[in-house]
Symmetry: C2
Subunit: 266 residues, 2 copies
DNA sequence: CGTTATGTTGAACGTTTTCAATTCGTGTGG
DNA sequence: CCACACGAATTGAAAACGTTCAACATAACG
């Protein structure tokens, strides 16, 4: 009864409340207070919770993927995060005791359920649990700030490249291929998340393919030249200051009149 | 000895760990574990901590103001937050056990110091303390997301207006005038925070003054027409769909060729 | 009183958006 | 099984918003 469901879960190794979640619990008196973790399966388009819903639990993605979005007063949506197996979800509820986001699934997915009581028990009795939750929430803020920084300091090419690399990295962490993957989100989602027009996303993907940086076939993406993609994210002033002998390496950052990407610019 | 310093602090009523921080502590056994809170005075330009510094404590602003910034790989700065009396600071350290931000003061300021041990004690022994810290951290993330949303969905005029209104609101919460205040940050800071060029900030402030929305005299700002400013933040489609009989009310959102703000656009 | 940091203003340019027209894919119903 | 329809994605041309560059003004500070 007091055994945590995800103790034996195959995805537990990626669990956002850490790889040590089982030891974590076992080493404390929290077990008596922690309720049995249950999980549930959802399908594409299903919602886990909506903004305004009572904050009853945290969730951990076991499989699939999801997106979290906030709604502006003018009723348009802003996607604030994507979630993959192991990611912790729902901490937006701590602020107002009700959820601030809408979370919906991008494909068939399953999630663990951790009641707020369990969370409280964890915080009370486990030093590690405290650290993990606080670390996770702190990291959330840092990630959002990084995202904000990207919007402010990077061009759209850099942001999209950065997005793909980040996706690749997150999938690799979960034991999947870092070079080939299928996007579970639409271009619309990507554009919304990155704060650009879908047309821009489309154009950039096409251009990147022409540059032999990636291969695109609808939702299926292959990263062909990751080192070069990394350079693109870093480069900004580089593209302007270095001399022409550098060749086309930073073509996408240069004047739009010189290179294939010219179709992007005006 | 076990009495919290800020128990009698005049700023305690605005304290980020809630208005009830004293009751909070008194109602629990936390007092034995909580160390005496000390405070310290800093001057303009002083740094509280830097990215990479060990995470030893949280801080609460008692007076003055500060900014937190992150540094990109290319060494340029991104201001992620401004702090005013009562604000809780330093939770960025939970993620990696070291600080991720640089925090520096915009004017002479004083801050309370709360050691991580005290924080732990609070979390262990006080339900209210847990709620307050988690709520604060959750709210931080939501605020950053709001900021991100603003950058994505709002024009520069809307963002700057929103910034001024937010400032006004935060100062009002602290018992100061919501209509008249002195900016403790430079135009450079504002521009950096909002992700625009200083020239744009300057131009927009001038235009808003011409529109009789605000009065600007260097750092001193007077909000003249708050209701109209609120409208500007909300309006987006409005400015395009409503007919001309509406007069100049949404001038700043319209074509830049018609109105005083024309200097902003191309 | 001069030097430096901060702020303002103008004009040209560029990136990204918007509008508009197609194409592609997937699923639905005849 | 095909036709149809709808959403998703692509592509082009024009327009807008904000940036950049450059010159200048003003305040702060030693």
């Amino acid at each position: 009864m007091s055994q945590l469901y995800f103790k034996s879960s195959p995805t537990c190794e990626y669990c956002a409340l850490s790889r040590n979640c089982t030891e974590n619990i076992n080493n404390t008196s929290a077990m008596q207070n922690v309720q049995v973790l249950t999980h549930k399966i959802y399908h594409k388009g299903d919602t886990l919770f909506c903004a305004g819903d009572a904050f009853n639990a945290l969730y951990i993605m076991r499989s699939g993927s999801a997106k979290a979005s906030a709604t502006t007063i003018e009723a348009d949506e802003q996607i604030v995060d994507f979630y993959f197996p192991g990611d912790l979800l729902g901490t937006d509820g701590f602020a107002q005791k009700q959820h601030a986001h809408n979370v919906s699934f991008l494909e068939t997915s399953s999630v663990c359920y951790i009641s707020v009581n369990s969370v409280n028990a964890l915080l009370t009795h486990s030093e590690l649990g405290r650290q993990q939750l606080l670390s996770n929430m702190s990291q959330n803020t840092l990630n959002q700030q990084q995202q904000l920084m990207n919007v402010h300091k990077m061009t759209s090419i850099q942001r999209l490249t950065s997005f793909l690399l980040d996706l690749s990295h997150r999938l690799a962490q979960r034991g999947l291929s870092s070079q080939q993957f299928t996007l579970s989100m639409t271009r619309i989602d990507i554009a919304n998340y990155l704060g650009m027009a879908i047309e821009t996303v489309s154009r950039l993907l096409t251009s990147m393919q022409q540059q032999r940086l990636i291969q695109v076939q609808r939702r299926h993406i292959t990263l062909v030249n990751i080192p070069e993609m990394r350079k693109i994210c870093l480069s900004d002033l580089l593209g302007q200051t270095e001399d022409e002998s550098d060749g086309m390496q930073h073509a996408m950052l240069r004047s739009t009149t010189d290179y294939p990407l010219s179709s992007i610019g005006g």
